[in-house]
Amino acid sequence: MSLLTPGLGFFFWTLIAFIVVFLLLKKFAWKPILKSLNEREKNIADSIASAERVKAEMAQMQSENEALLAKAREERGQLLKEAREMKDKMIAQAKDEAKAEANKIILDAQAAINAQKMAAVIDVKNQVGKLVIEVAEKILRKELAGKEAQEAQIKGLVDEIKLN
């Protein structure tokens, strides 16, 4: 069968052709193609890796941010608390001071009132004494206008003394 016996010429040319094509393609096709493919794959892998890294960094930053925020929130709470305490303290202090001042004022006012009252009482006493004397003088003058009245009076007084 001629179909099953390899022809020498075709065998020879195929061998030459394969070797030549192999060398040509190795140098001019496979090298740049495979190099580019590797480069591209490396590029993609690097991009994915860097994206992953950025993601991780972002996550870390976010957690850091959250920590900062929490800290800030805590600080704010602390500040608010302190401010509230300060306010309460100030109010309490002001109240105490005001109370003390008021008491003082009241005391002073009472003292002043007392003094004035005493002065008024003394004045009234003086006035009453004067009035009593005047009234007694007027009564006495009217009572002791006659001689007999004077003598009777004296006599009465003498009687009283006589017993002593």
């Binding site: 390899p6 040319w13 052709a17 094509v21 591209r40």
Partner: protein, 374 residues
């Protein structure tokens, strides 16, 4: 399910037909050789001989034969593209001339004549065979010429793709057009053939495997063009590739591999002795199977298509009506097989390359492979 059964019908019909046909084909071929080269029987010549026609189509030739115009009183006009003939004979030296000088086998030239696509030395000026002269035929036959054309196209496609990569396209951006087609095949060979079989050593063998794959693929595809030669279905072509595979396998063997061949581990001594010839034969039978597989697949595909086309002529010889009636059926089957052949062109390129990679992987004796086998 019903559709599936319907699909089986043409396959069954085709199988039966080809079975029937192949036996008659070889029978007729055997008879075809019987008449002596000199004794031309006009009656035999006129009758359509499908076996001879088909083998003529799948065989190599010294010219591209397109068609023959039947002339009066046996003078046919052959429309061909003659190809250069290169002969070397230790006795006569080198001879280079065009195959048209043979007048399609009717005349001798420079002491050679053409019989059934074979160049035979004759005594000068006569048609008598000269037994004393040995000749080596290095002619650029239609297989050689078509292979060269295919390879030029292949190199142009691949280098133009490579140029695009060098220019930057495909490195940082997406590949385009033909470059994309090349890339997907290259990636396939790398990721599905080289890497699984050769693991970390794949880089060393990748240029060879890629060249092998594209070499077979482009020649398979060119062989499918109407009127083209059956390059990959030629045993010389596949023999070259098989021998190169064998060399590649043998070059990558190591102590471990030969230890396995000559002294099979883990079995008693008598079995070791029995395994020795089997394993040794296995080393050579593997590439031999590659050679025969590619050759048989491609030739079979061509013969089946030719068979369906020949059926038209066979039926026409019976009656014209039968021929005309059978034409659509025949063409439909031929187209069906043709489409399968396109698939086979890729599959055979893949199988040859993949099995070569598998055999190289076995020869390397990668530890992963060894562990998987024990």
């Amino acid at each position: 399910m019903r559709l599936g059964r319907l699909k089986c019908l043409p396959v069954l019909a085709f199988g039966l037909l080809s079975l029937f046909f192949s036996s008659t084909l070889f029978a007729q071929h055997g008879e075809g050789h019987e008449p002596a080269p000199g004794g031309h029987d006009v009656k035999e010549e006129a009758k359509f001989n499908p076996g001879k026609e088909m083998l003529d189509h799948v065989a190599d030739a010294h010219e591209f034969h397109f068609f023959t115009l039947k002339g009066e009183n046996g003078h046919d006009t052959h429309v061909t593209l003659p190809l250069p003939v290169i002969l070397y004979s230790p006795e006569r030296g080198l001879d280079v001339f065009m195959s048209s000088n043979f007048q399609h086998g009717h005349e001798s030239y420079k002491g050679y004549k053409l019989v059934d696509h074979h160049i035979i030395p004759v005594k000068e000026g006569t048609m008598e065979i000269d037994e004393n002269v040995k000749v080596y035929d290095f002619s650029l036959t239609k297989n050689v010429v078509q292979m060269f054309l295919a390879l030029i196209v292949l190199v142009l496609i691949l280098t133009s793709a490579a140029k695009k990569y060098i220019a930057g396209q495909g490195r940082t951006s997406a590949p385009k057009g033909m470059q994309n087609a090349v890339e997907s095949v290259v990636m396939f060979v790398r990721d599905d053939i080289a890497k699984p079989n050769l693991s970390h050593k794949y880089k060393k063998y990748l240029p060879y495997l890629l060249t092998l794959f594209f070499f077979i693929l482009i020649n398979n595809i060119f062989g499918l063009l109407p009127g083209s030669a059956n390059v990959t279905g030629n045993i010389a072509f596949t023999a070259v590739l098989g021998i190169i595979s064998l060399i590649a396998i043998l070059l990558s063997t190591n102590k471990h591999f030969w230890g396995h061949v000559f002294w099979f581990p883990g079995v008693p001594v008598p079995v070791k002795l029995m395994m020795l010839p089997v394993e040794l034969l296995g080393v050579f039978s593997k590439p031999f199977a590659l050679i025969v597989r590619l050759f048989a697949n491609m030739t079979a595909g061509h013969i089946i298509i030719l068979s369906f086309v020949s059926l038209i002529f066979i039926f026409t010889e019976m009656t014209k009506v039968a021929g005309i009636a059978f034409t659509p059926v025949s063409v439909a089957f031929a187209v069906f097989i043709y489409v399968i052949e396109i698939l086979v062109a890729f599959i055979q390129a893949f199988i040859f390359t993949n099995l070569t990679a598998v055999f190289i992987g076995q020869a390397i004796g990668d530890h992963h492979y060894e562990e998987a086998n024990h």
